[in-house]
Subunit: 303 residues, 4 copies
Amino acid sequence: MTRDASPPARWVPGGGRGARSDQKAVHMCRWLAYSGTPILLENLLYRPVHSLIDQSLHARMGVETTNGDGFGIGWYMPDKDSPAVVRDIGPAWSDRNLREIAGHVVSPLFFAHIRASTGTAVQQTNCHPFRYGRWMWMHNGAIEGFPLLRRDLALAVRPDLFPHIEGSTDSEMMFYLALTFGLEDDPRGAVARMAGLVERTGRQHGVAHALQMTVAVTDGVRLWAFRYSTQRQSRSLFYSSRVETLKSLHPDVAFLRDIADDARLIVSEPLGDLPGAWNEVPESSYGVVRPEGEDEMHAFAPE
Amino acid sequence: MTRDASPPARWVPGGGRGARSDQKAVHMCRWLAYSGTPILLENLLYRPVHSLIDQSLHARMGVETTNGDGFGIGWYMPDKDSPAVVRDIGPAWSDRNLREIAGHVVSPLFFAHIRASTGTAVQQTNCHPFRYGRWMWMHNGAIEGFPLLRRDLALAVRPDLFPHIEGSTDSEMMFYLALTFGLEDDPRGAVARMAGLVERTGRQHGVAHALQMTVAVTDGVRLWAFRYSTQRQSRSLFYSSRVETLKSLHPDVAFLRDIADDARLIVSEPLGDLPGAWNEVPESSYGVVRPEGEDEMHAFAPE
Amino acid sequence: MTRDASPPARWVPGGGRGARSDQKAVHMCRWLAYSGTPILLENLLYRPVHSLIDQSLHARMGVETTNGDGFGIGWYMPDKDSPAVVRDIGPAWSDRNLREIAGHVVSPLFFAHIRASTGTAVQQTNCHPFRYGRWMWMHNGAIEGFPLLRRDLALAVRPDLFPHIEGSTDSEMMFYLALTFGLEDDPRGAVARMAGLVERTGRQHGVAHALQMTVAVTDGVRLWAFRYSTQRQSRSLFYSSRVETLKSLHPDVAFLRDIADDARLIVSEPLGDLPGAWNEVPESSYGVVRPEGEDEMHAFAPE
Amino acid sequence: MTRDASPPARWVPGGGRGARSDQKAVHMCRWLAYSGTPILLENLLYRPVHSLIDQSLHARMGVETTNGDGFGIGWYMPDKDSPAVVRDIGPAWSDRNLREIAGHVVSPLFFAHIRASTGTAVQQTNCHPFRYGRWMWMHNGAIEGFPLLRRDLALAVRPDLFPHIEGSTDSEMMFYLALTFGLEDDPRGAVARMAGLVERTGRQHGVAHALQMTVAVTDGVRLWAFRYSTQRQSRSLFYSSRVETLKSLHPDVAFLRDIADDARLIVSEPLGDLPGAWNEVPESSYGVVRPEGEDEMHAFAPE
C-alpha cells in the first residue's frame, strides 16, 4: 500500500528508545489513537493512572503542562462509514459530557485529543480531530510562522476542498493539504508532499524549520501515525507493546484485563509508567496499524 | 405495580383530543421520551418535519416559541444500568455535538429535552434530564412562586439525597422530592405525594395554583408520564398511536419505515402533522409504558 | 470626505418610507449603532419595549424570528483608540455578562449585534462586530453562494491582512476586502469596490444576485451605514429622528428622557413603535454620522 | 467599626513573613482585591510578570497548579451602588472577553478570582465573586465535608436570603451565612459567627477541621480580608507594601509607574518576585482597607 521503498519494519519491536528530544514547543497538545477489539472509551481515557484526561491537567513532557484549550473525540461505529466527532472548547478534565460519552460508547477505532493553544482562537472548529468523509486527522505540533505562511498554504488547497476549512489552525490546514495531495489514495505520499510544501513555503518566507508534527490519520480501518520535524527534534510519540506480553509481565495489573490482545495504542505521551509498555516511535518515521496483518514502521521524509 | 385503584385504561386509544388548554406559561420547555426497538436517536430528534430540534427554534404550542436555553439527552445502553446524560447550555438547533451523538447512538429507551428559562440560570445542572442512579426525570412546567417555596421544599428532601441537588430549578427539586417519597418503589404514589406537598406548601405561602407539570420518569425499563396542574389546565402531552396503524394509514411516509412497530413516543408537542398519529393525554392522568404487556393509562391526583 | 458626486442629502428627512422589501433571507441578524452623548448601554440595549435584546428572542421583520446564535458589542472609551469588543456564542437574551456590561459601561459610540446563523459555525470569531485597529464593522445579510465564492474572495484580500481573518463568515471577509480596498482612507469607495468585487465574483460562479447587506462601520468618530443588495431588495435599515422632535411629540415617554438631543441611532429594526421615531434608509444608499456637522445621506452603487 | 478588642495593628508593616503552611488543599483558587486610585484592570490582571491570569495556568503555591475552572471579576463604577460582576466558566488565560474588559474598564475597587474545582459543577453561578446588593464576596479554601454539612448550613440561612443562592459551592453558602449573621452591619462579627457555625456543624458531623478560608469582602468602599482555618494552617494571603516605598526601592520597575501611591492590593499569591513588595497576612487575622485613614489588622477567631 505504501510506496515507501524502505523495508517494512515491525511496528512493535523495541527501537526508538532514544533520549528525550529537546523540545522548544510553542504549543503542546496530547493525543491518543486506539485500534482493536471494541472497547469502552473510558477504559483508556479515564482509567489509566496517567490517562489522557489526567494529562489535560498534568502533562509531563513538554513546555506547557496544561492542555485546557478544548478537546475532541472521534469514534467509528459498525454500520456507519463516517465517524462521530464530538469537540468542545472547555478543559477536558472537568467536562461532564465527555465523561458520559466515554462511559457509554464502545468502539473499535477512536481518536482523542486535548489541546493547548498559544494563539489561535479557542473554538470548536479549531479542536481536533478534524473529519472529512470517513477520514479523521489529529495533530500535535505546529507550523512555525504560520501566520506568515497561511495564505500561501491556503492557496495550495484544492479549490473544491477550500470551503470545508472552518477553523484557523495550522493542523486543519495540514489536513486539507494532505487531502489535496491524495491522502485518500496514498496516505504516506500525501503527508510527505504536504510536509514538503510546508517546508518549501517556510523557506520562501525565511522560516528555517517550518514543520513540527506528530500526526494520526485514519480511514476507519487502517491507522497511520507520523513523527517528523524539519529540525529532526520531533515531539514525542509512543506505541504500545503487545498486550499479551504486558499481561505476562504484569499479571497483577487490573487495568490490563480490560484490554484485548489485539489492542494497538499510539499516544503522544505514555499512559502511566508500566515498564515495557511503551516504545518510542523513532525520529522521522511513520507506522501503519491495520486490523489484520503485521503492523509496519518505515522511515519518513518530506517530498 | 401501581396502587392506583382506577381501572387500567389502554395507553393508546383515542381519548384526550380535547381543546387546547389556556396556557399562561411562565416558561415552556419541550420533551420527548422513546421506548421500543433500539433506534438511532436522530431518526426521532432530527428527521421528522416538526422534530424536537426544530421545536427548539419554532415551537407552536405555548407562549415561548423559542427553547434556546439549553438541552439534554439521556439514553440507556444494553450492559449499563445507569443512563448516559449529555446536557449543554446553548440552543439545541445549532449544537454540533448533539447532532453527532444523535447520528451515532442507538438506544431502546431515551429522553430528550429542550429548555426555555425565564429566570433560573442557564447552566448544565439546570438542564434536563436529571439522573439518580438508573432513574431519569424530565419536566415541562413550573412551580408557581418557586423562590418563595424553595426553602420549605428543600427541607422536605431526605437529608442523604439533599447533597445530590446541583442546580436551582423547580424541576430538579420535584425529582428529589419524588425520590424522597419512594419513587424507586412506587412511582405513581411518589409523584402524587410530591404533587401534594407542592400544593400544600404553595397554599401556606398564598400560592393558589402551585403546580403545573408534564413529567416523564424512567428506571431504564418502564416509562411513566404524568400530566397534571393544580388549575386543571395542564401543558400539552401526547402519545403516539400504534405504528402499525400509522403505517397502514400512511404507507408512503418514509419517516415511518425507520420506526419499529413496538415504538412508543411521548411528547410535549406532536412531531409533525401526520393525521391519526398523536393522541392527547387527558388532563390529570398518567400512563405507563413497558416493554412487554399493554400500556396503561390512569387518573392522577395529588396525595 | 466622500468622493460620491451626488449632492449630500440630510440624514434625517423623511425619505425611504418604502414598502417592506420581499426578503428571501437565508439568515437574518439584527444590529444597532449609537453615536452621541455618552450613554449607559443598557438604556438602548434593554430598556426600549422592542429592544435589541428582545429582538434576539422575537424579531419581527424577517424569516428568522430568533437571533440566538451569538452576539457582540463594541464600544469606545475616551482615552483609547481601539474599541473594546465582547462577543459570545450563546443567545443574548439570557447572557448575564452582557447585561452586567450594559449596565455599567457608558460610551459615546457603540455597536451591538445579535446573530442568526444557518450554516457557518457558532463561534466567537464569527460574531460581530469585527475589529481591525480602531475600526469596527458589523453586518446583516449574506453573500449568496459564499462557499463557492469564498476562495476567490480570500485571494483578493491583501496578503498582510489575510492572517487577521479568524472566522469563516462572509461578513468578516467583506470587512477585510473593504480594508484591502482602502476603508481607512475612503470608506464609501472601499465598500463600493468590495461590493463590486463580490458581484463580479458571483457572476463568474453563476450567482446572479450575490450581495445582500446592511453594514455599519466606524473609526471611533464617524459612523457609516450602507444598505444595498444586488437585487435591490435589501434588508431593512432605519435611522432615528431627531430626539428633540421626538421629545416634543411624546413628552410623556420616559425612555426618551435618558436620550440626549444629539443621539443618533441606526438599527436594522425599529426599537418599539413610537410614531415618528424611525425613518427607513432608502434602497441603495448610505449615510454618514459625525459628532459635528450635519448628517448626510447619499446614493450607493458598487464599483 | 470593628468590635475586635485587640489593639489595631497597621496593615502594612512587615509581620507575617512566616514559613509556608503545609497545605492539604482539595482545591485551590486564586484571587486579587484592589482598592485605590482608579486603575485600568489590565494593569494588575495582565501586566505583572506573575499576574493573576498567568497564575491561572501556573500557580506556584498549592497542590493544584492550574486554575482553569472559571473566573470572575467584579468592579465598582462611580455613580452605581451595585458592582458589575462578569463571570465565565472557561479558563481565564484564554478568555478574550476578560482581556477586552480588563483593557477598557477603569475602577477604584475591584475583585478578580480564578477557580479550581475538584467536584462542584463548573458553572457561572459557582464562580466568584458573589454579589448581594452592593456587597461582593470571594473565597479561596473549602469547607471540609461540605456535602455532609450542606443541608444543615442551608437551613441556617435566613429564609428571605435562601432563594438568592444560585450555585452549589461552599463559598456562596459562606457568603449567605455571613449575610444572615449581619455582614452588612458588622463584617468582622458576621464572618466570625459564620466560621463558628461551620466549625460547630462540622464537629456534629465528625469533621474535625471544617474550615479553610481566605475571604475578601467589600461594600464598595471598605475592603475586609480574612485568613483563617480550623487547623491554623491557612492558605496563603498577602498584602502589598506601600507603593511609595516600593518606588524608592525599585525606581527602574516600569510596572510600578502605573500604580498610584494609595494603591492597596490583597492577593492569595504574590504577583511577581519584587523584593519588599509583599507581606504575608498572619495566621488567624483579618485586615480592613478604607479609602481614608490607616489600614488595620486584627486577630480573628470564630464565634
